[in-house]
Amino acid sequence: MELTSTWYLVLAAILFALGATGLLVRRNPLIMFMCVELMLNAVNLTFVTFGNDLNDLGGEISVFFVLVVAAAEVVVGLAIIVAIMRRRNEATADDLSVLRG
């Protein structure tokens, strides 16, 4: 069997679907956040695959920027989680409904 880019794309789809399922199933905000990271990583894999397939550096550049944005997102998101957990222990995602106006 020959390894084509379709294999990578299917693997990325599986990882993305697992991340989406985890995001919907789990209620711990930290684990939901980690699932988002997993989904971002699956998309990064497709970027690299297409970049490799089309002989284009743009795919790798996109992954670079996605990495930076993911890092910034994690920093702010974790700060929000810490701020919420400090005021209220054992918060789950459902408790954040108090944010409603």
């Binding site: 693997l11 990882l15 980690m34 990271e37 970049g51 702010v76």
Partner: protein
């Protein structure tokens, strides 16, 4: 050889992802995430993206997951979560159905759109030169490669660097701004506020029996 690496790394990535959503303890979930991210880094290496593989290990597996673990330990939420009760009725079946739908639709899309490889034009402006083959080739081969490709045979990092500081320099600068804003925002959010904050209102736990939830609500209304 590449196929063997792909199969092993792909299996590890899927195992890590399953562990992430399956483990009850958040610390175990974070460690499974490391496994998954590391496997993806190996897949990057398999596709000649050496720089991204290194960055993936350093930034994701190194910094981001350590940040997650740090927050888990800081907040003391590293006790196991009870996964046996379903918080919202029908949440899990619906979540699994949506996940399966995402998977089926994307695989369907891949098989339709990318029948026998990716479709689309090869790049003209930002051509990626395979660094491994060019470095192992002899000098004359590399020279010939230069002439046919119209680009210099550079290592992966150098190609990325040149592209990043010429074509994508504006995006790069905006990224620096974004990181600065993220740092300022994190400091503001995580700062200990002056004075006592009012505790967040307790939300009555949704109870399926129905009998216990109504007294809670009246109590809270009295508090308010």
């Amino acid at each position: 050889m590449e196929l063997v690496v792909f199969l092993i790394a792909g299996a590890l990535a899927i195992i890590g992802a399953l562990g992430l959503i399956g483990f009850r303890n958040p610390v175990h979930s974070a460690l499974s995430l490391v496994l998954s991210l590391f496997a993806v880094a190996i897949l990057f290496l398999n596709q000649d993206a050496q720089f991204l593989a290194a960055v993936q290990v350093i930034v994701y597996a190194g910094a981001i997951v350590v940040l997650f673990l740090f927050v888990i330990m800081l907040l003391g939420v590293d006790q196991a979560e009870d996964l046996s009760v379903e918080p919202i009725t029908g949440q899990r079946p619906i979540a699994l159905a949506i996940g399966a739908a995402v998977l089926v639709l994307s695989v369907l899309f891949i098989s339709v759109a990318a029948d026998g490889g990716a479709t689309g034009l090869e790049s003209v402006t930002a051509t990626k030169v395979d660094s491994i083959t060019t470095t192992t080739q002899s000098a004359t081969d590399a020279l010939a490669d230069d002439q046919t490709d119209g680009t210099e045979a550079l290592p992966n990092i150098e190609q990325l660097g040149r592209s990043l500081f010429t074509d994508y320099v504006f995006a790069f600068e905006v990224t620096a701004l974004l990181l600065t804003i993220a740092v300022v925002g994190a400091v503001l959010l995580a700062r200990k506020p002056k004075g006592e904050l009012a505790p967040m209102p307790e939300i009555p736990v949704p109870d399926t029996s129905g009998a216990a939830s109504s007294p809670d609500e009246t109590e809270e209304m009295e508090d308010a």
